[in-house]
């Protein structure tokens, strides 16, 4: 399972990196989204990959190996919210730039040939 997850994170991150280096704003924002998926999965996995285990313990002494680590799950929620909000903000700026300059190139003008 670790291998599959690691490979998929790698593919997401690689595609995201490729896309944010492209000259069109739409490609950049798609790249940012892919990167944020990769990062969120990565954080989630840092609590170790476990299946069918509850993140909450009952009161009293318990065996921690029976439970999933709840902290990365909490972190990933915060990360999703923040990443989503900033990407949405970028989307607004992207549209504003398209409206003002008439092009979707990241430099605000078409490259001269």
């Amino acid at each position: 399972m670790e291998a599959i997850l690691a490979i998929s994170i790698g593919i997401l991150f690689g595609s995201g990196t490729w896309l944010i280096l492209r000259p069109r704003t739409f490609q950049v924002i798609t790249g940012l989204l892919l990167l944020s998926y990769a990062v969120n999965l990565f954080i989630f996995l840092m609590g170790r990959a476990v299946i069918n285990k509850a993140p909450l313990t009952v009161n009293g002494a318990v065996d921690p190996t029976l439970y999933a680590d709840p902290l990365p799950q909490a972190l990933v929620l915060t990360a999703i919210v923040i990443g989503f909000a900033s990407t949405a903000l970028y989307l607004v700026v992207l549209l504003a730039s398209r409206g003002l300059t008439g092009t979707d190139h990241v430099d605000g003008k078409e490259p001269t040939k």
Binding site: V28, L35, M46, Y90, A96, L100
Partner: protein
């Protein structure tokens, strides 16, 4: 009763701007005066809180001079702890003073255009203050994001084509940076199992070798994000464009955002990678040192090459970041203290220059600037003109004097605080009682700092001559009292730093000393007791 309030004081610099910012959203933009008054009062209170905290940390009120506030009353490794030590409080004070000046400056013009300007500024204060106060790595990320979200909005304030273009690049760079921050946080958590900075430092000596590798990878990625914010070469290309595109008061506040990066590097390197860290001791210091040196070199070339004052100041900010990072990398208390003095002085003066830039632009009509440039390019000699003593308007006198004052501080010429700062750095580097061995790196740092001062002098002189001694200044520029007052105030703060250099240096020495004995910090954070339901410590 007093005791109770003092305990809650640590969270005030975060809560107050948050509430003020939220309150200001409720008023419509027509009530500009009201909005301005509320934010000024709130920032004054913030300044008061910072001064009070400074008194508390520097007295015997808190053990070891470290105040700990347990948010929601969870003890340290589990909940989020806010930590007010001397360094954090110093940065709070710097933020509040610069913030007050910036607010005063924006009252004339920038606060009136666009919407929610004052709210965004307050959220920026909140993010900065939070980043300085927090003792938790993930919380640091959150406050970084608050700062950045506010700065995105502020950068686009005044909305034109240049700002949108600069904003797009700034946002993408910082978003990618945030992703790296998250990866780093996840790696650190995987390695140590905690995100409380004191707890990370405490558990580092006994960590397993494979986890140590993971932690070091995490720390390296973490520092890359901080270095991007503080604009080390080659992660600094966004800075001059962003600074020169932003509206002047916003650019002045953005200077502080680069200092947050420096603060985080300083905090992490002294707390986590101290002598107690075993084989990870002084992790990454060589990179910091050489990165800092190359950054100074890059910045000084940029200073030479810039034609506009905005870009010139942007490159000076890069030079100052490079100097600070190189100075921090030695890990010596005396040098850290000198670096902190330099940090304060350079922040204030770069802020002042950003504000002054707009006022100077008013005397340089586009046509005059064009002619000056062309004349330089084609080496046209000026016709010597008959001068029969033209009365100089007061506005021009003020601009000229302020420009000279700022240039003196920026380039480190005597007698103002810039000189004291550089002198302090050299003194600490060459002091024979310190543990710094006089190798290539020390001499390279000294040489680069001297050359960067020279470059600044030449570039600023060229700009000053072209602007103030230009042939034709037909109409004196219109300056408003608040604008003049804010530039004057920043310069006065630099003068104050020069006059009060003695007590300030002693305070900074104590700050550096406590930074370099992280055991005291760790012990205070991890042993802070929770408050019981009845308000007594059990």
């Amino acid at each position: 009763m007093m005791e109770q309030w003092a305990k809650q004081l640590i969270i005030v610099p975060i809560l107050l701007p948050l509430l003020t910012g939220a309150l200001l959203i409720l008023f419509s933009e027509r009530h500009h005066k009201l909005k301005l008054t509320i934010s000024l009062i709130s920032t004054l209170f913030n300044l008061g809180a910072a001064i009070f905290l400074l008194k508390l940390t520097d007295s015997e009120y808190w053990a070891n001079g470290v105040g700990v506030y347990l948010a929601a009353n969870w003890i340290a490794p589990f909940g989020i702890a806010l930590v007010a030590d001397r360094l954090a409080v110093l940065m709070l004070l710097l933020t509040a003073s610069l913030g007050l000046v910036v607010l005063c400056y924006s009252s004339a013009r920038w606060g009136r255009i666009g919407v929610h300007y004052y709210s965004l500024i307050q959220f920026l204060f909140m993010g900065l203050n939070g980043a300085f106060l927090t003792g938790d790595l993930f919380n640091l990320f959150v406050f970084f994001e608050v700062t950045l979200a506010a700065s995105y909005g502020l950068l686009l304030h005044g909305y034109n084509r240049t700002r949108i273009r600069a904003g797009m690049q700034y946002i993408v760079i910082n978003l990618v940076c945030s992703f790296f921050f998250l990866i780093a946080v996840a790696l650190v958590y995987a390695a140590v199992g905690t995100l409380n900075m004191a707890d990370i430092a405490a558990s580092l000596p006994a960590i397993k070798p494979q986890s140590r590798q993971l932690l070091e990878v995490g720390a390296a990625i973490l520092v890359v994000t901080f270095l991007t914010k503080s604009a080390i070469w080659p992660l600094c290309f966004w800075l001059p464009t962003t600074y020169s595109a932003a509206s002047p008061p916003v650019a002045a506040m953005l200077v502080l955002v680069t200092k947050v990066g420096i603060y985080a590097v300083l905090r992490l390197s002294t707390l986590v990678f101290s002598e107690a860290a075993g084989s990870s001791e002084s992790f990454g210091q060589t990179v910091l040192l050489w990165g800092g040196l190359v950054t100074i070199a890059f910045g000084l070339v940029g200073v030479f090459a810039s034609q506009e004052l905005g870009r010139l100041v942007g490159y000076s900010a890069i030079v100052s970041s490079g100097t600070l990072l190189a100075a921090i990398s030695f890990g010596q208390p005396s040098l850290t203290s000198a670096a902190l003095f330099y940090l304060m002085s350079s922040t204030l003066v770069i802020g002042a220059f950003m504000l002054l830039n707009e006022l100077i632009e008013r005397i340089r009509t586009p046509a005059a600037a064009m002619i000056a440039l062309t004349m330089e390019a084609f080496a046209v000699e000026d016709e010597p003109q008959e001068s029969a003593g033209v009365a100089t308007p007061a506005a021009m006198v003020f601009l000229g004097l302020a420009f000279v004052g700022c240039s003196l501080v920026m380039t480190g010429l005597p007698p103002l605080s810039g000189f004291m700062a550089k002198f302090g750095l050299f003194h600490a580097l060459l002091d024979e009682h310190s543990n710094i061995s006089l190798g290539y790196s020390v001499w390279a740092l000294i040489a680069l700092v001297v050359i960067s001062g020279l470059a600044g002098t030449i570039a600023l002189m060229r700009f000053g001559v072209r602007t103030f001694w230009a042939v034709d200044i037909s109409t004196p520029p219109l300056l408003r009292a608040s604008e003049v007052a804010s530039v004057f105030l920043l310069l006065m703060l630099c003068v104050l730093m020069t006059v009060g250099a003695g007590p300030l240096t002693h305070y900074l020495d104590r700050t550096a000393a406590s930074l370099h004995t992280p055991q005291l910090y760790i012990e205070r954070v991890l042993t802070q007791d929770a408050v019981s339901g009845r308000g007594e410590i059990p």
